[in-house]
Structures are given as structure tokens and as C-alpha cells.
Symmetry: C2
Subunit: 227 residues, 2 copies
């Protein structure tokens, strides 16, 4: 059984990613971040999911992304509601957090090096969020190349780090079907950009709209608790 | 005047790096980290240096690298003393902090994106610290390539990020001579891995030994306060 690090936000995608890593036989170490999200509900969800999905360890790192600002997810910028997501994205969404995945993967790399894990899972998806630069395959490939040079692996000639992005070319419906087949209870996940303190979803932000459509297209009941 | 981000630890190298960036006409934004160092003395030094060297802004980000462990700088592992540094390093030193520069540069990238800076300075040195994988030119080059793909720059076709490593092939003596010529008061910097709360240096850890030798070879008085 090899150790793997899985980035776990508490949302639908990262929970699916953890379920996939577990199904592939990895000993899973989950990693979450308290980075100034508006509510802690998704971190509570991450805690529950790590236990439910059999992670042997779950670390939550506090980092202050609000120190720089620049995103609707960390600042007092309104989260967009009821947008028409069938139109291609012409700009990077205001919910983009500068360099967030770079920072998250850097911590995952530190965690992997200390736990002697060579496998890191991240639930990025290039289809639904084409507006986010740090969800693209070319970013992940460049990060992987850098990661091995950054660490003991690059000096001592060990195996390179492997970055797994099992969701990267799935539709939301395919992600949901995959997790469903693995027995994942999506009622335990929180995707909303604007969830309330209890974790109830707004139903109208980009993330809620994509999620709701995903359940419809997957032909599965949507277990999301909307407020 | 262009904005630049300068990683500033409070030590000799990063202070020189800030003095160089300033001398090149950049509007300097300094970035430090509270990452579970044994003492806060070097962060106090970073505060003083940012002001002394004319940074327009100085942010200190708290991150918990102790959460993972794996280094003498963040754990209860003894810092090596009185080592013979004339012998080539055969192993990575225990003072190596897993993925530290990757994490630091990731935050610098976020800060740069928010401040619309394209230039990031880091005082890594490949000569004195050949044992650290994340101080090598090939690491910095791989990080730079990844950084542009990670951010709006890579999507919107803007100029790529430039990572400046002005010290990378200098000896410690050359670094000291450069800073001295720019009027930098090295008495304000703290390099010791094991400084006491007042900032007084031990004189015998690797960092103290290299620093002391640097002043000798530079033919300049050593202003370090030893305990």
C-alpha cells in the first residue's frame, strides 16, 4: 500500500478524488486548507468525508490568502449568481483565487515528502471551469516537473512525484456517476461558493448551478441541502 | 517604476536581494513568513530591513510548516554545530525544510498577481547551500515556467513572470561586498539557525560559519552580534 496525498476541500470533486484514490489501493492522507473562506462549513464537510472515505490522516493547514486579496472567495466581492454557464467563459471568473492551486499543491508536496508519498491527487477539472488557469493539464504537468526538482527526489535520484488528476476531462455528470458507483454519499459534500454557516447551499452561484445540472445529467437524485 | 515582490527572511542574503531590487529601480513589496521558526527574531529583523531598505509594503504570512515536520528548523531536531563546511555535502542537511521555497514562491506568485508585479526576487544561492534542492537554478527555471501557466498571465497572454536570483552564483563574500557597496547595514540582519530571542547568533551553526567566513573573505568587519 503506497501513501498518497489527496487535496480535500469538502466539495463534490475532491471527495470523488479521494474515493478514487482509495479505490486504487492508496493509503490516503487528506489535506485541507482554512484560507479565509467565508464559512467553515466546507471544512467540517472535509473532516466528515476524510473519516467516511477511510483516510488514515487528515491535516488542515491555516493560510491567510486574504492577506493579498483579489478574489470574490476571500474578499468582500459579490459571488455572481444565476449566470448563464452555457456561454463560454470570456474572462477569468471573480471567484478565481490568485495562485491558489499552486499554493495548495506546494503544501501537498511538502506533506508528500515528509510522508514518503510519491502520489498526489487533485480534483481539478478542465471542462467546467475553463476560466481557471490553474485547472489546466499544462499547469499540472509544469507543476509536476518543478516538484521533483524542488525536493530530495530531484537530488537523490528517486522516483519523480506523480500528480493524479482523475477528474480533469470528466463532465460533472461523469464525476457524480463515478463517485456514486464507489458508494460516495454526495449529501456529505458542500460545493456552494456562498454556503451558510450550516452548510446549506444557495443554489444559484456558478458552483451550485454546475452541481445541480450534473445530478440532472447523471440521472441521479440531488442530495444537496438548499436553503 | 515596476512593482516587484522580494522574499525577505531577515537574513543576510534576502536583505541583499532587496537592496539589489531597490537599486534596480523596482517598487519593492517585501514578503516574509512566520512558519514555526524557533524564534521570531529574524522576523523582527525583516520588519526593520523592509523599512530601512525602502520597501513600500511588507506582508508577513503565517503558515504552519510544523504541521508536517521533517526539518531541524521546525522540529525538535538539533541544529548541527561546528561542522566542517569545506567538505562537499553528501546528504541534504537536516535544516532542509521540505518544499519550503516552493511554498514561499507560490505565495510570492499570488502576491505578484494581485499587485500586478511581474518580477519576483529570491535570494537563493547555489554555491554555499549545494545540499538544498530548492536553491538550484533548474528548480527556479521550472518554477517560473509553471508560474506563468498557473495564473492569468498564461491565459490572457500577458508577459511571463520573471524570477530574479541575483545571488545564485555569488560566494558569500561577493554577496556581502555587493550589499556593502549598496550601503546595507548587515548588523540589522540575522542569519543564525539558532538565534536567541534577542537575535544574538550562536556562531557555530552552518549559517553562522558561512556568514563569518564571508565577512573574513570580503575583508569587511563582521557586525554580527554573537552571544
Amino acid at each position: 500500500m503506497s501513501n498518497a496525498i489527496i487535496l480535500l476541500s469538502g466539495g463534490l470533486d475532491s471527495a470523488t478524488c479521494l474515493a478514487i484514490a482509495k479505490s486504487q489501493g492508496f493509503t490516503c492522507h487528506a489535506l485541507s486548507f482554512q484560507y479565509g473562506q467565508r464559512h467553515a462549513a466546507e471544512l467540517d464537510a472535509a473532516d466528515r468525508l476524510a473519516k467516511l472515505l477511510g483516510a488514515v490522516e487528515h491535516k488542515t493547514i491555516e493560510i491567510d490568502l486574504r492577506a493579498f486579496g483579489g478574489s470574490a472567495l476571500t474578499d468582500d466581492i459579490a459571488v455572481p449568481k444565476d449566470r448563464d454557464l452555457s456561454q463560454p467563459e470570456s474572462n477569468i471568473p471573480v471567484t478565481y483565487v490568485p495562485a491558489r492551486n499552486t499554493i495548495f499543491l506546494s503544501f501537498a508536496l511538502a506533506y508528500a515528502e515528509v510522508r514518503q508519498a510519491r502520489d498526489i491527487f487533485i480534483g481539478v477539472n478542465a471542462l467546467d471551469y475553463s476560466g481557471y488557469p490553474d485547472c489546466r493539464p499544462e499547469f499540472i504537468e509544469a507543476f509536476a516537473r518543478m516538484a521533483t526538482l524542488a525536493t530530495k527526489a530531484g537530488v537523490e535520484g528517486e522516483a519523480p512525484y506523480r500528480f493524479h488528476t482523475p477528474l480533469i476531462s470528466m463532465t460533472k455528470a461523469e464525476i457524480i456517476q463515478t463517485g456514486h458507483a464507489l458508494g460516495l454519499d454526495y449529501g456529505q459534500t458542500i460545493s456552494c461558493y456562498d454556503a451558510d454557516e450550516s452548510g446549506a447551499a444557495c443554489g444559484t452561484c456558478d458552483s451550485c448551478l454546475l452541481r445541480r445540472k450534473g445530478f440532472q445529467e447523471a440521472g441521479l437524485p440531488d442530495p444537496t441541502r438548499y436553503r
